[in-house]
């Protein structure tokens, strides 16, 4: 393994840092470690490993050159790992979304500014989602009716909501 700093000499010092479950590794040679200011643990120095590593932490996992080892998150259905996904930028199958779920929020936030769908819901596959959204809509409408003291319509809406709620929990 080559030193990550100079790329010439073999790396003889290996640091591992784990932050929030993300493991980051640093491999450098002794010369570079000295140049960096007595990085070698146990010697008295103000330099903290963190200074050096914090730069690495900002790298995108897909970024080149950094040998970041991530715990292997893998999609059981198609076999794609999160690392592969972050390199090619494409999911392997629809189940990848479930298996990589925890890691997707920051990514989707960055791409779309959002993490949750609010648009069209398919009739069949959407099934209950569609009904739930309808219930939300009706509840809003009912509140509106109540505020306008139109209690008759509000009562009708309440009954419809009840029926729909039965549908969701029952069916």
């Amino acid at each position: 393994m080559q030193c990550q700093e100079c790329g010439n000499r073999p790396a003889t010092l290996h640091f591992t840092k784990i932050v929030g479950g993300e493991k980051t590794e640093l491999h450098i040679c002794e010369t570079c470690a000295r140049d960096k200011g007595e990085l070698i643990p146990g010697t008295q120095s103000g330099f903290s490993i963190h200074n050096l590593l914090s730069g690495l932490m900002n790298f995108d996992p897909a970024g080149a050159g950094t040998e970041m080892k991530q715990p292997a998150v893998r999609c059981d259905t198609c076999g794609m790992t999160y690392n592969q996904f972050s390199k090619i930028g494409r999911f392997g199958c629809s189940e990848c979304y479930k298996h990589f779920d925890e890691r997707l929020d920051p990514l989707l936030k960055r791409v779309h500014g959002n993490t949750a769908h609010v648009g069209k819901v398919p009739k069949r596959a959407g099934g209950k989602v569609r009904t739930k959204r309808e219930i939300d809509e009706l509840k809003k409408e009912m509140q509106d009716r109540i505020e306008h003291e139109d209690f008759e319509s509000a009562a009708q809406l309440r009954d419809r909501i009840k029926n729909l709620e039965k549908e969701v929990s029952g069916g």
Partner: protein, 354 residues
């Protein structure tokens, strides 16, 4: 082999009708990305799996469920020659990705070519609607209807939280890409274009060239489309694009009027020179052709070149592309021969239209 009509004619039937604001907007397009629930995305699918996905999706068209759309052509990409694929790409009926990368790729095409459904592109299903002029809302409504028909027949990969699941995270949620193809010569000439394009980028839209992702904006043609697919409803996305495009149309029209008012002779000179060169040159590369045709198009819309018909320009835009030139010529052409053939073609078309 008998040439199919969609390979023979450069101008799709749908382009022959005039759309609203067609002096600025050439066409509007909506594309929906959908996937089947229990099959890996096309990139990872085995040949058997992608074959099954293709048969299932083509089956929806075969079942007659899409009959309301008129006669449909079902085309397996494996039946086409490389040149025929290239021609379909140049007509925007399929993507370069479907033409070159796909396995068991297929196309469902309506008779007037305004509906093209790609199978086994990056996603299992890509429903694309094209409309002449500025009709982005109409295109979305049509796409949604076709989407409903497919959903009745096949199980979509849909998640309550993430929406329609797509191969690329940039499409997840609504899976919608709505775009308008705009001709903005006056904004370019008056130097306003960069300011406008950067403003457009700030409201979640993106601008590309004529042939989509990665293509350069030649001939002052800009494709403006939504970037975000998640966290906004389709109506919001379409409406946002509509409003921004509407403003761009007004800016372009105002810039054209200003050009005429401030420097009529100079702009007229430029347009007439380009027309002169196009109707007389013997060698014409695609970049120069695009720029000169843009000048001529502007001339037509400013009423300075009454002898030229807008449709001729739309047709040339497609038929001067390498694939089309070669298939019209009947054999492969060197780039140099292409430039000569292109010049011949443009000359003859401008003559006919005058």
């Amino acid at each position: 082999m008998a040439k199919r009509k969609y390979v023979k004619h450069a101008l799709s039937q749908w382009m022959k009708t005039d759309g609203p604001d067609s002096d600025v907007v050439l066409s509007s397009r909506v594309r929906l990305a959908r996937n089947l629930q229990c099959s890996p995305f096309p990139m990872l699918a085995t040949p058997e799996q992608s074959q099954a996905a293709m048969e299932q999706l083509l089956g929806v068209a075969e079942s007659g469920r899409l009959n309301g759309l008129g006669p449909l052509d079902l085309i397996r990409l494996s039946e086409l020659t490389e040149l025929e694929k290239l021609v379909l790409v140049e007509k925007h009926l399929i993507s370069p990705n479907l033409a070159n990368e796909s396995r068991n790729g297929a196309l469902i095409l309506s008779e007037n070519e305004d509906i093209s459904v790609m199978v086994n592109e990056e996603d299992h299903l890509r429903i694309q609607i094209l409309r002449p002029g500025f009709q982005i809302r109409e295109a979305w409504e049509m796409a949604s209807k076709i989407d409903d028909v497919f959903e009745e027949q096949v199980d979509y990969a849909f998640d309550e939280k993430r929406g329609y699941l797509t191969s690329c995270p940039t499409n997840v949620g609504t899976g919608i890409r709505a775009s308008v193809m705009m001709h903005l010569p006056a904004l370019v000439l008056t130097g306003q274009i960069n300011r406008i394009l950067s403003a457009v980028a700030q409201v979640g839209l993106t601008v590309r060239g004529l042939y989509g992702e990665g293509s350069e904006a030649t001939g002052n043609l800009f494709q403006v489309s939504n970037q975000i697919t998640l966290g906004q409803s389709e109506q919001e996305i379409v409406e946002n694009l509509h409003q921004v495009a509407r403003q761009m149309i007004e800016h372009e029209k105002a810039a054209r009027m200003k050009l005429l008012a401030d420097s009529r002779v100079r702009i007229e000179d430029r347009i007439r020179r380009s027309y002169g060169i196009l109707s007389h040159a013997a060698i014409m590369d695609s970049k120069e052709a695009a720029q000169r045709l843009s000048d001529v198009r502007l001339g037509v819309h400013l009423g300075l070149l009454p002898q030229v018909v807008e449709q001729t320009l739309n047709e040339l835009l497609v038929s001067m592309q390498p694939g089309f030139l070669q298939q019209a010529y009947g054999e492969a052409l060197h780039p140099e021969q292409r430039d000569m053939t292109r010049a011949d073609l443009i000359r003859s078309r401008l003559e006919i239209s005058s």
